[in-house]
């Protein structure tokens, strides 16, 4: 990549603010987006995750202007001036870039014409816009394919054309709807890194929708999790993993067993089959009263001998090698299934094993 080709994609990022946004669809009693507030700082990459039907695509379409919220506001901050209300501004005037789930490349245009279309709409002369389109294609590594038909491209190439098309107009905000979901698993891994580095280079503010938490963690600075139109938690990937705010977040993010627990000072006590074990509570964790669930990640547990030190008894139900370490699946006496990081101790499926808490803080969530 050359300096000029990077420059062509460089944006002056804006701040995007959603304020108490609600959107209902006729015939559906539950709102698709429910009182959602979210602020994305200039240059920040924010992922919106959630299961299908959680309202993430509707939120994205409201940000883009394809949908108007029933209530609430969408604001765009330009840095110096006060944020401007763009709730009712048309997508045409917003000047945002958007990468669609199926890319929405114009099938009757060549690759470079696709990328140049936004410039065409801005009245840039033909020679100029094609030159800029080609540099943008260079920047995403498709320099040699600018004259191809878009239908002759592979999925990964189409994704990069869509990205170049959205970035070449130097948008203040870039919106991406499941940009990785149409790629096969191996390609997806490398496209995550590529996507993040392209977005970082351009400096654009990006809101990115995905149902895959690994995509979100790999690409985003912060992750916002939605469930049934409501924002459950927003934070860095580390925060969501280590200090989930709710049970739903804990279950969605990473692998975790949730078992009921009680709080004793700054420690948490978990009793299974009459055996009570304790660990430190993570500081960021909720301190709500009432019933609690401990979030047991594989790394918060260790496999131990069945006698001697206090441990929960269980049966090894499965094992899987996860690079670097082995993870055992153990069914405890009360029927709960936990995953345990192996510490070298070899245990065979079907044998009895003990499980105890490792010396790491444990997160708790309201039950």
């Amino acid at each position: 990549m050359t300096d000029t080709s990077d420059a062509v994609l460089h944006s002056a990022p804006g701040a995007l603010v959603l304020e108490h946004v609600t959107r209902r669809y006729p015939g559906n009693p539950d709102p698709s987006v429910d009182d959602l507030s979210l602020t994305i700082a200039p240059g920040e990459l924010l992922a919106l995750v959630g299961a299908s039907g959680s309202g993430k695509t509707t939120t994205l379409r409201i940000a883009a202007g394809y949908e108007t919220p029933d209530s609430g506001r969408v604001l765009l901050g330009d840095g110096a001036a006060a944020p401007r209300d763009i709730t009712r501004e048309s997508p045409q005037r917003r000047g945002f870039g958007m990468v669609f789930q199926h890319y929405a490349l114009f099938p009757h245009m060549r690759v470079e014409e696709n990328v140049a279309f936004g410039l065409e709409a801005r009245g840039v002369r033909r020679a100029d816009r094609l030159a800029r389109a080609r540099s943008a294609l260079d920047a995403v590594g498709l320099g040699g394919k600018s004259e191809r038909s878009v239908q002759a491209l592979s999925g990964g190439e189409q994704q990069r054309v869509a990205l170049a098309r959205a970035l070449v107009i130097q948008p203040r905000v870039l919106l991406l709807d499941e940009p990785l979901s149409n790629l096969d698993p191996t390609l997806r891994q490398s496209m995550r890194d590529e996507l993040r580095s392209t977005l970082r280079l351009s400096g654009v503010t990006a809101l990115f929708v995905t149902h895959d938490q690994e995509d979100a963690f790999a690409v985003a600075d912060r992750v916002a999790m939605l469930e049934r139109g409501r924002l459950l938690q927003v934070g860095t990937p580390e925060t969501l993993y280590h200090a989930p705010a709710t049970r739903a977040v804990a279950e969605f993010v990473g692998r975790a067993a949730l078992v009921s627990a009680e709080r004793v000072g700054d420690r948490v006590r978990i009793t299974i089959d009459g055996v009570a074990l304790e660990a430190r509570v993570r500081q960021e964790s909720a301190t709500a009263d009432g019933a609690l669930l401990a979030v047991l990640r594989p790394e918060s547990l260790v496999l131990s001998e069945t006698d001697g030190v206090p441990a929960w008894g269980g049966v090894v139900a499965g094992r899987r090698f996860a690079g670097g370490h082995v993870v055992y699946r153990v069914i405890l006496g009360n029927g709960a299934e936990v995953e345990v990081m192996g510490d070298g101790a070899a245990a065979r499926e079907g044998t009895r094993a003990g499980v105890r808490l490792a010396d790491v803080p444990v997160a708790v969530v309201p039950a």
Binding site: G97, M98, F100, H102, A121, R122
Partner: protein
Amino acid sequence: MILRRARAAGWGVSVTALGLLALLLWSVVYPNVAVIVGSFERGLADWKEFASSPADLDALRGTVIVAIGSVVAALLVGVPLAFLLTRTEFRGRRVLSGVATLPAALPPLVGVLAFLFLYGESGVVTRVVQRMLGMREPPWTLSGLTAVIFVHAYTMYVYVFLFVSAGLERYDTTLDEAATGLGASRALLLRRITLPLLTPSLAGAMLLVFMSALGSFSAPYVFGGGARVLATQILVSKLNGALGLAYVETTVLAVTAVLALLLLRWLEGRRRYAMAGKGRITRSGLRSPVARALLPAFAAATVILLVLPHAMVVLVSFARDGAWTTQLLPPEYTLDNYRQLAMERELWRPITNSVWMSVLATAANAVVCFAIAYVVVLSQAPGRRMLALLAALPWAIPATAIALGLAATFDRNAPLQLRFLLVGTFWILPLAYFIRNIPIVTSAIEGSLRQMDPTLEDAARGLGASRWLALRRVVLPAARPGLVAGTMLAGVAAVGEFVASVVLYTHANRPISVEILAQVRSLSFGTAAAYSVLLILLVLLITVGARWLEGRATDTERTVNAA
């Protein structure tokens, strides 16, 4: 991906293919060759006469004007209506889309008749406008090429509407969103994205309108006034005994049609794209309050305009013949028109004629066209490409030309030349209907067979089924939707057929359409309208029957296609 591998054709299939080829050469190609040969019977004399006759040149000009004008008019009506009904939501949308295809249900001559009752010199709408404006003369006259194009706009916009609606239903609307998101104005969006992507649909519709308008006979025949088109000029020449000239005119018309077909096909095929995403229809309400207020009114007006011709024909069918002179609406109503049709044998006869002739022709279409489609799609028999081409040919040749070809070929008994005396007999009309409907039935069945996984037939044969059993239990069920739809369309076309009939009929086998014209000529509008209503009912009966058959077939079809 289904690989069609070469399959040795059994001798049975090969013989069938050759037989079909011979049949089409005899019924489709031979008559047209006879016309071309006939045009040179007097050397170049007839061609010279054509080239120097002002009437003929006028007719050629008129034909081209009508064809192009009809395409433009049909686009102007059909495209906006398709966009409106697929893209926006407004009060009255359902009603409007329910009646939008109604004009297609009017047999050609009946539509013309309805326009006469409504917009003719003493038509209802004409008189209403005349009185409202206090004019002494009618505000317009329904004659000449403009009148023809006006009628065509009503009957033919349906093609444009259907094609563009189908195109819009497949259309991936995220492409439009992508374009607006990139800053495209409505004009740029339409010019650079929407219209280019709809080109195949538009070209297909334009082709249909152009071909129909080129060969259109009823409207020019009834309202042409002083204006001439080739299709009617052919009949004039024939009736004047100038057969050679009629052959020249027919040749010119047919060649124009085939050239237009090739041109538009090329245009249609040049741009074809697969839409990547799923076609998703999002109907949006309109933002402008003015449009929101006016749209339901516009919808109501359009619905009235679309329903009016049908309503008028029904109304006039109850009017006492001769009583309706200067009044706005017929003053007296009676059931006599229908009673007469039912009581008088001579008047009932056209109805039995039409039913019988269309049943015979359509049955022949079902059998022959299924065989053609089978050979073309599922076999490797020799000559199948030729067969496919010949089966499509009658579509490109205007009906008047087909009829004249039959008249030229089967006017004598010469078995050695494969000519039989059919002109003046009952059989000439069913033959004409059969030939006209070969393309539509064949392509409908081909469509269904192409959706079938061809390995199914192999699988059946591999399980020990004879070719006959595989045909009956596997191929026929797969072909059934196309077979039902194709024969339905053929039946509808045959029962109301006018253009070929008016060239070839005899008094004994005159069909309903010819009788309607005769009644109009003798100013028995009530009787003509009663025939028209019966004709519409026949069309309705065929359509409902086909729906019922299709409904029963759906389960079988699903099973076969899902496999």
